[in-house]
């Protein structure tokens, strides 16, 4: 294939990956930024979103588009409620101690994964895309749905930004993030805020999964890759920085797309991890992270 179209395809693939990655990683970053909890179970909430999407679309059974829209609402909501419940029953009781919560979220990871294995089963199941249109360039064909994913992801990210920067809830979240004790002193119900944030983080991951599941398939082991990539993105972008997370997601997603197309996917992973190492050495707080006092 000629260089031009080759690069176009690589960029498209990279953009889809960036979009989904940005959504997933923003969820992880939000939880860390506000709660200082490293959520190792984040990838499982992603998987939960995909599996719930399969269940919802199968249950609705009408036109794929109807099922998809219902799934886009129900799956993140359900994943969010489960996450909030996990926060109230487990993390709260550990007083959000950073080390204990890592171990606790590892436990949550296995519980979610095994419950899905026992109920949904070990098979990969496809979810039909809301529409099956393709467009053809003279060199290759491409699914229009993938472009739709990029569009929706941008809208959702804008929504998160509006929520954080323009609303009262956002103000409370930012206040809690800046200084937990002071926020509490001003009458902010910090524990309820934490449950909300943990739920919101999981819901964002689940939403990313609902978008990706018509391209890939729902499978109980699919949470591993998004977790790893989200960590890479969040470390490069700066833990807790939403802007940094999005920029890093685009950087990692695009480079992964382009490097895997022109060279090999393994090289793309090697470079991403190497970048993490350099960031940790030279800018330990990430590209956009603030220096801790």
């Amino acid at each position: 294939m000629d260089f031009g179209p080759y690069l176009l395809l690589a960029s498209l693939e990279g953009a889809v990956q960036s979009a989904v990655l940005a959504l997933t990683a923003v969820g992880l970053s939000l939880v860390f930024g506000t709660m200082r909890v490293v959520n190792v179970a984040h990838g499982e909430f992603f998987m939960l979103g995909a599996v719930l999407a399969w269940w919802v679309t199968t249950f609705v059974g009408l036109h794929p588009a109807v099922g998809f829209i219902v799934a886009l609402v129900v799956a993140p909501l359900a994943a969010g409620v489960i996450a909030a419940a996990a926060d109230l029953t487990v993390l709260k009781r550990l007083k959000y101690d950073p080390e204990s919560t890592i171990v606790a979220t590892i436990g949550i990871l296995y519980i979610i994964q095994q419950v899905v294995l026992m109920t949904y089963g070990p098979d990969a199941r496809p979810v039909q895309a809301p529409f099956s249109h393709r467009f053809y360039t003279p060199w290759f064909g491409y699914s229009s749905y993938k472009l739709f994913v990029i569009g929706i992801a941008i809208l959702l990210l804008l929504g998160v930004w509006v929520l954080m920067a323009k609303t009262r809830i956002g103000l409370i979240l930012r206040a809690t993030q800046l200084d937990r004790e002071m926020a509490q002193a001003f009458g902010i119900p910090v524990e309820r805020v934490y449950a909300l944030v943990f739920g919101l983080g999981a819901a964002l991951a689940a939403m990313a999964a609902v978008l990706i599941v018509p391209i890939q398939q729902a499978h109980y082991l699919m949470g591993g890759d998004p977790l790893l990539l989200s960590f890479i993105v969040v470390i490069i972008g700066g833990l807790g920085s939403l802007m940094g997370t999005v920029v890093a997601a685009v950087l990692i997603g695009m480079s992964d797309g382009i490097i895997s197309v022109f060279f090999t996917p393994t090289l793309a992973k090697i470079l991403a991890t190497l970048l993490v190492a350099f960031v940790l050495i030279f800018r330990p707080n990430g590209l956009f992270g603030k220096r801790s006092s």
Partner: protein
């Protein structure tokens, strides 16, 4: 504990036991009468325990589900017909998570904890390669149903045999002439980046060159990959034939994205059915496959020339004429692989009967008995077709099938001979010690 109690019983009790023993002896003498022999033997018989290493979870789960159904069906048939050497067969299934490390642990469990007579049933080549050395150390006969060339290549040991399914090297060798003469000479290969895929890469490249063809591009894909479009631009434009073989939970995504990438102007496509095992051919996005070709070890759809043996096999396992479960038409089988479990169990049965197998002390005799097998005729026990077993390489050889997708169904286009699949021996396991 119980032995000590017996020692402490009174004299009168001991006398009573002696009388009983005499009675039993008399009964044993009686039972040498013709017709009573079988009864006397089986009445005191423990079941033959077959450790079934099954991919219940992990990336091989779809195969595991059908391997399990086939194995249970075969065990039921064998038991209904009187078992092996008058003893019933008991399947002891353990999940290995399609993971080599757990595979080795499962083999160990079979030998030491479950006291199994043999281990059996592994498919994924990395699990076989991870488990076989442990089976060899434990001197546990290990009957794999894997397709990998690792058995016949001499990489494993005398305890590992593959008598129920053919290996990749023989399969691709038999495919190459058909591909070169009917589809084209310039081939691009897409395969998973582990032992099984490397077998495809190495042996098909060599085989197509013998036919005057050439593999012009080799695209290796990590087995855990979930998105494939980014690999397709590497397919050269002058490719005549795309040769694809993929495994794992993402196979449907792989084939769908291949269709999206090409649209209507596609080269010839020849795939190993592994790329679509357990996947419904009617899945949305697979329409472009019409007119493309697949290798199948055992045609998924009942063909016009269906044998009575295939019919009986489908009925026993619960598979309909479309290769799906009779109870759920969406639950598509791994038809080109699972017959291997059925045939392997019947080979184990024949081997144990020939060896007069009584228990673990006869394991070496069992292996020698299987090594002595050669021609295996088409039958209800071997419904996929006639086979030739090579005792030196521990590998079986058989017919291969090429089917063409026609109106969403796989229709038989070509059947190879067994001779097409033979190659010179690379090892003589019979010269290795037990």
């Amino acid at each position: 504990m119980s032995n000590k109690k017996i020692v402490s019983v009174s004299d009168s009790r001991r006398k009573a036991l002696k009388t009983l023993a005499a009675g039993a002896g008399a009964f044993a003498g009686m039972s040498t009468l013709p017709g009573l022999v079988g009864y006397a033997q089986s009445a005191s018989s423990e079941p033959i325990r077959i450790g079934f290493q099954v991919h219940r979870t992990g990336i091989g789960a779809a195969y595991g589900r059908w391997y399990n159904r086939t194995t249970q069906a075969a065990a039921k048939m064998i038991n209904a017909a009187g078992g092996i050497n008058g003893r019933p067969v008991e399947i002891v299934a353990e999940d290995d998570g399609t993971d080599p490390k757990r595979g080795a642990e499962v083999v160990e469990k079979f030998a030491t904890q479950h006291k199994c007579d043999i281990a059996f049933g592994t498919l994924f080549s990395h699990v076989v390669i991870g488990s076989a050395p442990r089976a060899g150390e434990l001197k546990l006969p290990y009957f794999v149903v894997s397709e990998g060339h690792h058995v016949a290549s001499g990489m494993l040991n005398r305890y590992t045999l593959q008598p129920g399914i053919t290996d990749v090297k023989s399969q691709v060798q038999a495919m190459a002439p058909y591909v070169a003469s009917n589809l084209g000479k310039k081939v691009t290969m897409i395969y998973p980046d582990f032992a099984f895929g490397h077998d495809h890469r190495d042996y098909f490249s060599a085989a197509i060159e013998k036919q005057g063809g050439k593999v012009i591009q080799k695209i290796a894909i990590p087995p855990t990959e979930s998105s494939f479009t980014k690999y397709f631009p590497k397919i050269p434009r002058d490719t005549d034939v795309i040769y694809h073989v993929m495994v794992g939970p993402a196979v449907l995504t792989f084939v769908k994205e291949l269709g999206e990438f090409y649209g209507p102007n596609k080269p010839q496509i020849f795939g190993f059915i592994d790329s679509l095992e357990a996947v419904d051919m009617a899945s949305p996005g697979l329409e472009f496959l019409d007119g493309t070709y697949f290798w199948e070890a055992n045609p998924r759809y009942a063909q016009a020339n269906q044998t009575s043996h295939d019919k009986a096999f489908r009925a026993a396992v619960g598979v309909d004429d479309n290769g799906a479960s009779v109870s759920d038409s969406k639950d598509v089988s791994t038809y080109s692989h699972m017959f291997g479990c059925w045939e392997t169990l019947y080979t184990v049965k024949a081997g144990m009967e020939a060896a007069g197998y009584q228990g673990p002390k006869d394991r070496a005799k069992l292996i020698e008995a299987v090594e002595a097998m050669s021609h295996i005729p088409l039958s209800d026990e071997h419904p996929q077709g006639a086979k030739i077993f090579n005792g030196k390489t521990h590998q079986v050889f058989g017919h291969q099938y090429i089917t063409k997708v026609t109106n969403g169904k796989l229709v038989l286009a070509h059947t190879t001979s067994i001779e097409d699949t033979l190659y010179p021996d690379e090892v003589d396991y019979t010269k290795k010690s037990f």
